[in-house]
Symmetry: C2
Subunit: 384 residues, 2 copies
């Protein structure tokens, strides 16, 4: 096991009716800006629950944060937060609203050019405190200090991490997911699955417990997926919400080696082609596993044995089975896994490869994926 340093200050308030606790969770002397997305919270009753809980608080609103939140929209919110002297941000919605809100929180307190927080890793030294009501199990943003923001004007999608943007609290009420459309549930299942794999399917450094914890999450996702997609029942939605949080809250990556190449490439597909985040992950993950097969086959074979109870075959055969089973899982939830499913071809691949060529950085757990390898991986992803 590698050395590690772990701390996560987020308070999780989980369960039916938890939104009503907002009145106690936010000091009534604070000026609150509630942020949200396209307005689904006004149709599914979440907005009403939040405003009822905060009826004695001083709350202003900023709506319209997009899926893949944009720098442009967030900067409008920064202006409002500054001019209105907002003390606390409350994100109500999915991971995109929350990621946007994290950026707003840091940018509003940053004296320099806020884009530098994303593009240059500029170390903001404070942020407006924030909390959230998370309504979409997927990104894990509710229990981490990460955020991903896109800039429309330059077709860039970049991430940052700052300890000041850990939510003070996150409210997870599984009932808020009942109104989600199937494609968002599907995206959430795949997103959480791939988050786990970025922290698991690398190479063995001796982390017996973390491996099993990671397997616990994907096993749970596979088990509950039919109910999540097929019904509106509390049990499977609760398991789903908690699994998505566990997939990216820093717990399973304690002391292990991480990959994140799938995300790195996937972000560029979203930036250039507009696919949803999870759609890009389902395309890239199997292709990277094929491309990096020799490096990853030990862990992939373990995945096959423990998650799908595969006993036949040698290590390579078991690892290949893990790739097949993963693709089959994605298909079972209705998720395409090839670029051609989205009519993406050579022209877009060239654009993406050029972007990596400009950056000159290599990535993946062996730092062996550069522009050339990105091209190879994306060509592997062209067809099913």
């Amino acid at each position: 096991m590698n050395n590690f340093d772990y701390q996560n200050p987020v308070r999780i308030v989980f369960g039916k009716g938890a939104i009503s606790q907002l009145s106690d969770l936010i000091d009534p002397s604070l000026k609150v800006m509630m942020t949200y997305g396209g307005g689904s919270i006004k149709r599914n009753g979440v907005y009403d629950q939040v405003t009822a809980a905060l009826k004695n608080h001083n709350v202003i609103e900023f709506g319209g944060i997009e899926p893949n939140p944009t720098y442009e929209t967030c900067m409008q919110a920064v202006e409002v937060a500054r001019s209105e002297k907002v003390d606390f941000l409350l994100s109500v919605g999915g991971g995109s609203v929350l990621d946007g809100t994290k950026f707003i929180a840091a940018a509003a307190k940053y004296d320099g050019e806020p884009w530098d927080i994303l593009s240059k890793g500029a170390a903001a030294s404070e942020a407006i405190p924030l909390g959230d009501v998370i309504t979409l199990p997927a990104t894990g943003s509710e229990m981490n200090c990460f955020s991903v923001v896109s800039r429309k004007s330059t077709q860039e999608k970049l991430a940052f991490a700052l300890p000041y943007v850990y939510p003070v609290f996150s409210i997870l009420d599984p009932e808020t997911t009942y109104s989600l459309p199937k494609n968002q549930l599907r995206n959430g299942l795949v997103d959480a699955f791939v988050h786990v794999m970025e922290q698991y399917a690398t190479y063995d450094v001796g982390s017996a417990l973390q491996d099993r914890q990671a397997e616990s999450i994907v096993r749970t996702l596979i088990e509950i997926a039919p109910d999540v997609l097929g019904k509106q029942d509390y049990a499977s939605r609760a398991d789903f919400m908690w699994a998505a949080t566990n997939a990216l809250n820093g717990w399973i990556n304690c002391g292990v080696v991480q990959d994140w190449a799938t995300h790195t490439i996937g972000h560029e597909i979203t930036a250039f082609c507009g696919l949803a985040h999870a759609e890009t992950l389902a395309i890239v993950l199997p292709a990277i596993w094929k491309h990096q097969f020799e490096h990853k086959k030990g862990k992939l074979a373990q995945l096959a044995r423990r998650v799908w109870h595969v006993t036949a075959g040698d290590e390579s055969q078991q690892a290949a089975t893990a790739i097949d089973k993963t693709v089959a899982f994605f298909h079972s939830v209705g998720m395409p896994t090839s670029l051609e499913d989205y009519a993406i071809g050579k022209a877009e691949i060239d654009k993406i490869v050029s972007r990596f060529a400009e950056r000159k950085a290599c990535f993946g757990e062996h730092q062996n994926i550069g522009p050339e390898q990105v091209g190879e991986i994306l060509r592997l992803a062209l067809k099913k």
Copy 2:
């Protein structure tokens, strides 16, 4: 899944050489009191590492905290902490030293009778901040706000929980465990195993992920036990340390039903008969499972299937197998499982039953274990 509220502020600094980070982890302007036990840290090099890291800090020492730390000793430390105006407590040792230090931290700041914190659940409103170097994987005290303290004069062993006694940081260096004698390693393995079971072997409330996370810990403990006991290698000691922390840091009990009857009865065996904590757990757990078989068989059968891959038999047979396999695991690490192994008989059982009769409280996940049932359980535990 039941509703829950989770937050854990502890910073974990894990790995080889981590003790050297103490110099940065504790503000040098603070007056530190280092607490420790019987002096093993002076023989195994840990004391030297700590004092080297803190050579520019203002540190006083308080040694001699016992296994099953006593109120009497802790109150001597409280006097020192108060008179020396100590700002920070650093516990160096196992869970007993840390539990004692948590009590010292709360008692030193408490205006009333400190025993009330234990006997009446008196809510102390602050504590001296504390950190620790944990050297024995067992209690999980390094990442929770619990403490158990014994009072010699009255033969009582009582627990308290206060948010103010979460360690600010916990340093876990697996190399500090190399000098542990086999019986302490054995005790740690059993302690961690039973902690998981107190949060797992109850009844199903729909907690798919937490169940698998709990199974991950016990599966890991079973897998590494031979190496932990048989060699001094880093990999298995690292897995052991992290598994013990995970067994009682509030994570696997999110949204589930808990038991703790084994601990409640075990504490009285320690109080009256002086057995080590883990020794009592290994005696009581199988007896409670037999006594509460009808209530617990669903979860026990799941344990058998998932941890020991049992496929034969119906639910009751699988549950019975889980009890047998658990007892066999305890025996495999050299842990006795009956009262007669310690020459404890009817006279001691009567004393313990009388203690529960005085308290009039029922416990266990169904609140159905009172004095009469304690007698039945202990009689089931008389013989192997």
